[in-house]
């Protein structure tokens, strides 16, 4: 099945399940219906396609320097992909910054392959080189599937970014007074039918940071964590967070450290 055919099927499945659930079911039966819907969807995750493309891209010679990304250091040494995802964001001595997966990829795309990192950061999601980043993050995340999150906090900058990330998580602003914590500060809550992970504590295996990048059935798209955070801020009625900006990286540190010990299922499949 093509990725494009999936959203239609998914909508039909959801409609059927909700119809079967009756006019006014209790909350639990609604949740059961949704869980059943997800189980049906998980039987073959289209993210596999992005993963395969990402692996090819990692090894392919590209860009003005006609080089592969195999010398890229994601934190475990040049070229080491396995285990990198579950220890990001982290401090990198060569840039002197704490970086998440995507800001680090920008560094590598520029340093190894000669691409213009600023131009890629300014490219809208789902276009141009951003499409390749979708695949790269899917491949890199998949290489850590089943591994547990263990973000390093040994460097002072990593601890500073954790504390800043926590403040940003609780920062209320905009016309609706929303913060990240407005939706993700309590356990067992929903927006409409969508379960919300509590990100102020460890949300558990395969939830929150341990799920993204993910294939979104509703749009037939692969969303990286940067895109996930970007759309959170849109719905928070905030201005637009820069791609790989420090606010998004600090939030990544906050979520990643909280998730210590949680097993990664990324790339997950979402509604």
């Amino acid at each position: 099945m093509t990725p494009r055919a999936r959203p239609l099927l998914a909508a039909a499945l959801l409609a059927a399940l909700l119809a079967a659930a009756g006019a006014a079911p209790a909350q639990t039966s609604t949740a059961d219906g949704i869980a059943q819907y997800r189980a049906l969807l998980a039987d073959g995750n289209p993210a596999d396609l992005w993963e395969a493309k990402g692996e090819a891209l990692w090894k392919q010679k590209r860009g003005p320097k006609n080089a592969s990304l195999e010398a890229c250091d994601l934190g475990r040494g040049p070229g080491v992909v396995k285990g990198a995802f579950v220890a990001l964001p982290r401090f990198f001595a060569d840039t002197g910054r704490v970086q998440d997966l995507e800001s680090r990829l920008l560094t590598c795309l520029q340093a190894q392959q000669g691409f213009d990192a600023a131009a890629i950061a300014a490219t809208p999601f789902g276009q141009g080189e951003q499409l390749n980043i979708e695949s790269l993050v899917t491949y890199i995340a998949a290489e850590s599937r089943g591994m547990t999150f263990e973000l390093p906090q040994a460097h002072a900058e990593e601890r500073r970014m954790f504390e800043a990330g926590k403040k940003i998580f609780f920062f209320r602003g905009g016309p609706y007074d929303f913060a990240c914590a407005s939706c993700h500060g309590e356990t067992g809550k929903r927006i409409r039918l969508q379960d919300l992970p509590n990100l102020t504590a460890n949300p558990g295996d395969g939830v929150g940071i341990a799920a993204w990048p993910a294939y979104r059935v509703s749009s037939g798209e692969l969303w990286s964590m940067q895109r996930r955070l970007n759309d959170c801020y849109r719905q928070q009625r905030f201005p637009y967070p820069g791609y790989a900006s420090d606010a998004t990286i600090a939030l990544g540190v906050y979520m990643g450290v909280q998730a210590r010990g949680a097993a990664s299922v990324a790339p997950a499949i979402k509604r």
Binding site: A23, A87, F171, T200, R234, Q235, A250
Partner: protein, 215 residues
């Protein structure tokens, strides 16, 4: 020490690691400064979402910590918010519950992808159960099913119902007047909804004919 052995040290000597991390934790002023710096440098305006949205008012500042402000501060904030409420001048509290239901369903408005000048919805079902037939409702806020009925509002025009009617208007206009750090937006005060829209939401919650209250 390489990073792997550093990680191992953290996991095998967790208690020691925690103590070490705490003693060298950044001080709160430094974290505040850094967070502010990062917020100011990370966003750009897009569509209707301008950068002034990052400038917090007193209430937003007081409600941006992991823990809520002290009781005394919360009461002061609530009093200040209550003073912002504009009560209906003509005594017309309730509009049309059918329009209110449409508003409750409508989650549009306020985002950078919303065009300027399009009236916002109320977003109500995102967080609340309201009518019994809409099963796609959120749970961040309390259930509002049978809102008027449970509060004994048989006739909203009856003086006996006045306290509930008035509170409901105030809550919709400025939820923070009754709970300083409530998760609910200040719909009237922030100009998200018009008085006419709030009247329609009032009807959805309080009109005995509304599916919220009708059996």
């Amino acid at each position: 020490m390489n990073n792997i052995s550093r990680l191992k040290k953290f996991t095998t000597a967790g208690a020691v690691g925690l103590v070490a991390a705490c003693t060298s934790a950044p001080n709160p002023q430094d974290s505040d400064r850094l967070a502010q710096q990062i917020i100011q440098s990370s966003f750009r305006e897009q569509g209707i979402a301008k950068l002034d949205r990052l400038t917090q008012d007193d209430l937003q500042k007081a409600c941006s910590a992991e823990t809520p402000p002290p009781e005394s501060v919360a009461r002061q904030l609530e009093a200040a918010q209550l003073a912002t409420v504009q009560w209906p001048k003509d005594g017309a509290w309730l509009g049309d519950w059918r329009e209110g239901e449409k508003l409750a369903q409508n989650g549009r408005g306020g985002t950078w992808s919303d065009p300027a000048g399009v009236p916002a919805g109320g977003n109500c079902y995102n967080c609340h159960q309201i009518t019994p037939t809409e099963i796609s409702f959120g749970t961040i806020g309390p259930s509002l099913y049978q809102y008027g009925k449970l509060r004994g509002v048989a006739n909203p025009a009856d003086p006996a119902s006045q306290a509930v009617v008035r509170y409901t208007w105030g809550k919709l206009w400025n939820a923070k007047a009754y709970n300083a750090c409530s998760g609910m937006p200040r719909f009237g005060d922030k100009g998200v909804l018009t008085p006419a829209q709030i009247r329609d939401l009032m009807a959805l919650l309080l009109d005995p004919q509304s599916p919220v209250n009708a059996r």
